[in-house]
Symmetry: C2
Subunit: 501 residues, 2 copies
Amino acid sequence: MNPKFDELKNRLMEIYDLTRAGAVLEWDQETMMPPRGGQARAEQLATLARLSHEKFTSPEIARLLDGLRSYEASLLYDSDEASLIRVARRDYEKMSPVPAELTAEMTRTAAIAREAWVEARKQSDFKMFLPHLEKIIVLKHRYIDCFHPTGNVYDILLDDYERDMKTTEVKQIFEALKAELVPLIAAINSRADMVDNRCLYGHFPADKQRELCLDIVTRFGFNTDSWRLDPTVHPFTTSFAIDDIRITTHYYEDFISAAIFGCMHECGHGLYDNGSDPVLERTLLCGGASLAWHESQSRLWENLVGRNHAFWKYFYPKLQAAFPNQFKNVEMETFYRAINKVQPSLIRMEADEATYGLHIILRFELEQEILQGKLRLQDLPEAWNAKMKAYLGVDVPDDAHGVLQDTHWAWGSFGYFPTYSLGNIIGAQLWEKILTDIPDLYTQFEHGEFSVLREWLCGHLYKYGRKFTPQELRQRILGGPIDVGPFIRSLKHKYNEIYGT
Amino acid sequence: MNPKFDELKNRLMEIYDLTRAGAVLEWDQETMMPPRGGQARAEQLATLARLSHEKFTSPEIARLLDGLRSYEASLLYDSDEASLIRVARRDYEKMSPVPAELTAEMTRTAAIAREAWVEARKQSDFKMFLPHLEKIIVLKHRYIDCFHPTGNVYDILLDDYERDMKTTEVKQIFEALKAELVPLIAAINSRADMVDNRCLYGHFPADKQRELCLDIVTRFGFNTDSWRLDPTVHPFTTSFAIDDIRITTHYYEDFISAAIFGCMHECGHGLYDNGSDPVLERTLLCGGASLAWHESQSRLWENLVGRNHAFWKYFYPKLQAAFPNQFKNVEMETFYRAINKVQPSLIRMEADEATYGLHIILRFELEQEILQGKLRLQDLPEAWNAKMKAYLGVDVPDDAHGVLQDTHWAWGSFGYFPTYSLGNIIGAQLWEKILTDIPDLYTQFEHGEFSVLREWLCGHLYKYGRKFTPQELRQRILGGPIDVGPFIRSLKHKYNEIYGT
């Protein structure tokens, strides 16, 4: 063993513990904390963020990373040791230009903004949230100013979630996506009344929803030895260890889809984190390669598994048993068509697979306008509503169903949204590979069997954690760049069956 | 303002944030964490403990504390500033002889032992827990060896919970207590059949218990803006801020007393933490003066309030409404006598006020024997059972109802138990003062009114947090030393009414 490597590893583990402690505090804030605990929590989170930042950007880490160059070169590229050094160096380079105090201030501001967002959303009043968002954007600019200008300020934020991805690249992908989606949605809209989704609305007690959700995700890989499912305002997933995975959901008692598909989505994130090779535990190689890769898993389990016909052959009788009054006289085909109805709507998280992309493109464009100073924050609700009308044809009735629906901006997560659509696209690319490797996949779904799929994903993706860059993974697993083809093919195939388009 | 003081305060706030983050992680471990998260959690807790220890015992803190001596002398003794310097100096002196690595190792070992204890208790098998306890005791000795010998190794541990208290002093107090309790219990035992407590056993759904518990503690001061109540294996209270108080309880569905009196007990702890002067927020002056003072509040709210006759005049109809089948035909007097039945029993937490002290004396004696090397750990269950027979006359059926019943040893909390009985005694001393100051206290209880009591306790005790030493508080509030007189008078008065002793 190399003593310098051991020292680096030990220092990184200490830093990792601090970041995981911060994650526990954030999870608690989102699921458990009484509201008046917010102020102290913001300070605690800021302290943890500052300390881990200080420790990561310390001269000792720089010295070790430098001193380990020849050791790293002597190792296999994909060995655990070389990967740890490589990923730590990249993280160091991204973090070292930023003062620890700024990291602390961004963390503190976000934790306070999150509480304000919950209240503003409850009251459906963007003005309550505005001063917090203003502060977040001021800090974002201070953050961007830490780096060499790239010609596009948005590149720096995007890179935080999707390493090396450029705004122009996302634009190209989204243009290709839009070019396919707009005519597809138009064609479907002209046949809108072919699908009736009224069966999804009714009365669904939260405890019954929870039981069914647990039944589903347990088949995916959730187990109470290593996972929890808790209610929250805005669903998310986090993990504190490979075997401590926390997924969350929100139950609407008048609408069945949100919690069920939301749980599958979050479970997809959880499976990715839970699938890291155990030897990576407590190192920064745990987790996912990037947000787009992470969302590829959430969206894959939510849509390619959860909205699949074979899936419901197994689960529909269970749904009927859980809500007999609602579903006893509803045919499975009716339900299957309902959950796949394409319908321009207000809420991103509840959108169908086709219109979902337009919700993302809207946010992607607004974020750029905000950061380029082309849109004043006080005008954001109006801009939001105008784009919703233009892209989806819907009228936004209030801020809660518009600009305040997502929690991301309260956490300062600008640059995150595009990764959802990139995830949809990557997920579909993966799916074509999977169907080749597992020809009887849908037959397995009909029997409630998902472990072969999970093992495929573990073996090809999850186990590597953060070892490889997003591009390296694309090359290794997909054999090429991001391509909207499979995603569009998948949608066209499904909607052709349902709408005859 | 003094810049050195500001620097000290800022450094202490950072350390305080780390300790509170650790408290969140411990709370999560006890209430939420899936079992396989334990190993990583132990590392996270160890890292937080080591960092806060390193930061507290750093040369900078030493230099600041030293440089602030004349500033401190220029301030009023009970000013916030002087108190912060004084208490920080004391904490520094207690912490600086101990290596940070040892603190980390004790923390890691305890977090792992806690998981082993849960499992050992479930299986009622002390042998499963033994290796963990052995490691804890080895570390305790390493800890004790950090300090100048005092003639009694137990003194050092006791001092961690009850500053400046000596083992000999506790022995004297406990001798006085035993001298009164033994004949009192004997006299009552000869009239044991005068009280029938069968009404406390039956079927009590946990959700109904929870509702009633919340109803009670809400009257005490619990509110959902700043508090939570969660189920756990072994009840405890913790706080992450003055307005983020977490109490916990355990519901037995066949026995009503444990959760109800347990909740009042934990609420007493919570009220103390919640009552710190808000200007003390995020400083180490938040919280309680010592464990005996803390237990004085848990035991006061549990027993002097919760087992009081006037209290049940208000709450008994609510209990009847919650459990009509069980209580509709039970007179309130029967219930009141039942909850005050003196009966030697196996479980400390469920013991009546008279026999409770014997449970504590047993643990106090065993802890000393263990730490003085007079009792081998593998012989502990036998020693436990023998003392239970000798002091309480009961036969211990298994480890779960004997040596494994409490979580304290798993957390390495040796020296903690005596503070429960000291708390009972101090609580009774306080109570005599309170009854003088609030003559119509019991009339208030009959109307479900507890805010005058809470305000008295806030004004005389809670608001000071850790500003004063346990002795200073005794002098200020009680006007003298610990005295078993009021506690014994209170028991004799109550049992005279119930048993005619």
